[in-house]
Symmetry: C2
Subunit: 205 residues, 2 copies
Amino acid sequence: MHEPGASARNVCRIPPRTGAAFRLPKGATLTVIDPQGEQVSDLVAFNADDIRERISSGRSIDYASRIFLTTDDILYSNRSRPMLTIVGDDVGRHDFSLTPCSRDTFRILYGDTDPHHGCQGNLEQALGPFGIAPDDIPVAFNVFMHVTVDGDTGEIAVLPPKSRAGDRIVFRAEMDLVVGLTACSAGQSNNFRFKPIDYVVGAAA
Amino acid sequence: MHEPGASARNVCRIPPRTGAAFRLPKGATLTVIDPQGEQVSDLVAFNADDIRERISSGRSIDYASRIFLTTDDILYSNRSRPMLTIVGDDVGRHDFSLTPCSRDTFRILYGDTDPHHGCQGNLEQALGPFGIAPDDIPVAFNVFMHVTVDGDTGEIAVLPPKSRAGDRIVFRAEMDLVVGLTACSAGQSNNFRFKPIDYVVGAAA
């Protein structure tokens, strides 16, 4: 991204308030880039050979003994197997406690009468061709999402992301995966400026 | 429980390190009791008419804007519909961030070479007859589990439950449910004294 030329041809852009899904082979890297700053990208992953295996916030948090994951942390599956390892992280603050924003999120939390279908709807559309049903979209790893937690009361708040233009996080696939990825549709998570997300798939070493 | 006699006949006991599953009709109450104090009970729930609908930590936390749920809070499904409402709570501290303890938990976190199958194994056995597969057991509502979170670092710690002998939490079913419930198998969550859990199903008002 930072050097125009050959490498730039491999960058995929997810337009504002949309999503994408793609295969990520074992050993390949996935770089998620915030091209303009202060944007969130919801990431979910499934075993490409058996889509009933999917990322699990509960297992990943338990094994890390930490709710905020960063470099060297592992996103585990619901079968306790490593799916993705974080191998680089410019930002260091992401969320792994909330489901993707959805028609219901906008209705229940914000009272929208004609709500956008959100990251949930975008992931449903993108993952459907891989045989993944809406009910099976789990708590997402919400890249760059800045959620604060009060350790005493448990209150959470969603703040603008800490990511600046060009900041990135890099994952390595630990098995053959189907990945779903969005440019977040929720105003609260990106300071009410809907922006794109870029990503790059790197070949296995 | 506190008055011997007719009401005591309705109390079901879950022996240490085991689990149970049962139907809970819409409108009925479920009281979960810690008979000896400092014990945890993992609770999961599924729509009895369509088991693909199940409790969702991510949606419940999002809609409550709080990671610690108590009286008047709602456990939502992955379809954003209310499944259970907490209508009474003697303890006020439960966890909704971790999956049930499992063979993998004991292996990865504690290095056990011959690990117990844990609450996950107990829930798999109890829920299997209802057609619920191991992969579909979600992050549990971990009744009485005392997990602290450092809001700065995100570090979590599992402390002995705050529940004393006889303490209880009461839920009301908002739809016809299949509920899975355990007497927790993890030493860390109950101060290394494995104890039973009691529960009472109350008829719909």
